[in-house]
């Protein structure tokens, strides 16, 4: 039996240290395999270490705990159990009661021994039920879906995309866009004829699109639903989209897979 391991993501060093100390006292057999201080590192470390338990601070630089969990759920390979996620927050602004009856737990800072003790009991019980652990990923995906904010109502809809190509501005009617693909600092606008980069983030772009026509299917992909021909599941269970008149297949992440359940 390998020892149980936990990863702590908390940007305030004293709080990270305190949580580590308290866990040691309440749950001596749990090993803390790492402490990171931002969301991006949390995802990297969790993918590398595959801990059993992941304590995620909600408010962190770079990425929030929720965004980190989201990304981790998308990038998680199917080997090994998805970690049990415990959200840690100073202030209950995310309606985190959703987690009270759920797989992942959440604790409020300052963390009291009594409350963390309950969390530890809950985690221990979860870790012993192997069947439960297999469903862990699905469960957190379901929760994330309920926590991912809905499409904000746009102040104005985009009808034309203005993309800089060399020294000219290309105008692309939104309806002709097959999909938007987030790259590092840009968004790639793909049509049947062309690809152009625009200097904006998917986050800023989303509210300006018609949500009934443009669906987010992955953290970095928003697709024009009118151009989808079919959704295909491969033997490993991964979903991809086949577009009309387009070679490129688009992967659908777990968080958005429910969009393609048959009616």
């Amino acid at each position: 039996m390998t020892p149980l391991r936990a990863l702590i993501a908390e940007d305030e060093p004293i709080l990270a240290y305190t949580l580590q100390q308290t866990l040691q006292r309440l749950w001596p057999e749990l090993q803390v395999c790492g402490v990171v201080d931002n969301g991006a590192s949390a995802v990297q470390e969790a993918l590398a270490q595959k801990p059993d338990v992941l304590f995620l601070d909600i408010k962190m630089p770079g990425k929030t705990g929720l965004e980190a969990a989201h990304e981790l759920a998308e990038d998680w390979s199917d080997e090994g159990h998805f970690p049990l996620v415990v959200f840690v927050t100073a202030y209950d602004e995310y309606a985190l009661q959703a987690f009270e009856q759920a797989a992942a737990d959440y604790v409020l800072k300052p963390i009291s021994d009594a409350r963390l003790g309950k969390t530890v009991e809950r985690l221990k019980a979860r870790l012993q039920q192997h069947a439960e652990r297999d469903a862990e990923l699905e469960r957190i995906v379901g929760q994330l879906r309920s926590l991912v904010p809905g499409m904000p109502v746009a102040s104005e809809r985009l009808s034309m995309i203005r993309a800089a190509v060399g020294n000219q501005i290309r105008l692309i009617p939104v309806n002709e866009v097959l999909y938007f693909e987030a790259t590092d600092k840009y968004v790639n606008v793909v049509t049947a004829e062309s690809e152009s980069l625009i200097r904006t983030s998917l986050k800023e772009l989303l509210p300006q699109l018609d949500g009934s026509q443009f669906w987010q299917v992955h953290r970095g992909t928003v697709v024009n639903a009118h151009c989808i021909q079919s959704a295909i599941r491969d033997e490993s269970g991964k979903l991809s989209l086949k577009l009309k008149n387009h070679e490129q297949m688009l992967p659908v992440s777990r968080v958005y897979a429910h969009l393609f359940k048959q009616m």
């Binding site: 305030e12 709080l15 240290y17 408010k59 800072k109």
Partner: protein, 359 residues
């Protein structure tokens, strides 16, 4: 008649006003009739003079006052059109009033005319006195009302301004001591108590100082620069305990400027924004420098950070815009056009916020 009039009068303010004006006119009419009868000794009978005076006066008030209320309501009427109405009403009410009176009294019109012709000077004097009196009375009354309305408007404006100030104060308080800040700080205290009691004690002192100053300064009119800087020191000290090596900071206040007075809550939001939108959300953290200096007769307060910079996220842009608008509004309220606020990018990264206040 009266029973029907009363409820109607309370629902129709113009009608109410008209009835009052007619009543006042009748008093005038009576006085005029008395003057004509006993001072000018024209027509032996008071009764005849009273009827004539009543007819003319009532017509006059109906045309002038009725017309005014119909055309302009209870507002102050525009001067020129009102004077035109007034001038037109004089011959009209004279002529018609005489007609009605002669019909009521069964005295031919010519008799009136003859009497008037014999006393031209007397009537002219009377006419001037009466017109002047009536005009003066009504004009004054409308002026008084105009002033009253103006005073009421002024009062309402003052109340609105006060309400805004109170709301701003409340919002500021809520923004200042946000739960995140408080609970995170308490969580750090809780952790420190177990490992380093002395540091925990120091942190607790800073928290108390910060909370007290924040609560107190939102109630006071003026505070000294020294006080404001020590408050910022407490706040940044707290943040440094929390953020560890991710935050470094430096405060610079020349000795001779310690005693200068500034309004509270001008500097604090700038420093808190530098933390909240600049250094705290940045993965590697950053540095904050706060300085006060004197340039000619201006006090310059500058907050520099090496954080994420302006408008890193859309949400940030919105709240920054709001914060900037609030600061500008506050400066305008305090100093008019004499103070300026500048927010721009810092080199190589982060933001600079700068206040310039007349000394």
């Amino acid at each position: 008649m009266k029973t029907a009039l009363l409820p109607a009068m309370s629902t129709y303010p113009r009608l109410r006003r008209f009835v009052i004006d007619v009543a006042i006119t009748w008093v005038f009419n009576t006085v005029i009739a008395l003057l004509i009868t006993f001072v000018m000794r024209i027509h032996s009978s008071f009764y005849i003079n009273f009827v004539i005076s009543m007819c003319i006066g009532t017509l006059m008030v109906t045309i002038i006052d009725g017309g005014r209320l119909l055309l302009w309501g209870l507002e102050k009427p525009p001067r020129i059109p009102f004077l035109v109405l007034f001038a037109a009403s004089l011959p009209a009410s004279q002529y018609l009033g005489n007609g009605i009176a002669s019909w009521l009294l069964d005295i031919p019109r010519e008799n009136f005319e003859a009497v008037r012709a014999n006393n031209v000077v007397g009537f002219l004097v009377l006419f001037v006195i009466v017109c002047g009196g009536i005009t003066w009375f009504f004009w004054n009354r409308s002026l008084v009302e105009h002033f009253k309305a103006e005073a009421a408007g002024e009062k309402a404006r003052a109340a609105a301004i006060e309400k805004q100030a109170l709301q701003a104060q409340l919002q500021m308080l809520q923004a200042q001591i946000e739960p995140h800040m408080l609970f995170n700080t308490l969580a750090n205290l809780q952790g420190l108590i177990a490992v380093d009691a002395a540091r925990a004690q120091h942190m607790l002192d800073q928290l108390i100082q910060y909370l007290r100053a924040t609560l107190a300064s939102s109630r006071s009119e003026q505070t000294s620069l020294a006080h404001e800087f020590s408050l910022m020191d407490a706040y940044l000290g707290l943040m440094q305990v929390r953020m560890g090596s991710r935050l470094s900071y430096h405060l610079q206040l020349p000795d001779e400027m310690h005693g200068l007075n500034i309004p509270p809550m001008l500097l604090q939001p700038l420093v808190e924004n530098a933390i909240k939108h600049g250094v705290e959300p940045k993965v590697g953290g950053g540095r904050i420098e706060v300085e006060a200096l004197r340039e000619q007769n201006m006090l310059v307060l500058r907050v520099r950070d090496t954080g994420l910079g302006l408008g890193a996220t859309p949400a940030d842009q919105r709240s920054t815009r709001l914060g900037v608008a609030n600061t500008r509004e506050r400066l305008r309220a305090l100093y008019g056009e004499a103070a300026t606020f500048f927010l721009g990018p810092n080199v190589p990264c982060g933001a600079i916020a700068e206040l310039r206040i007349p000394l």
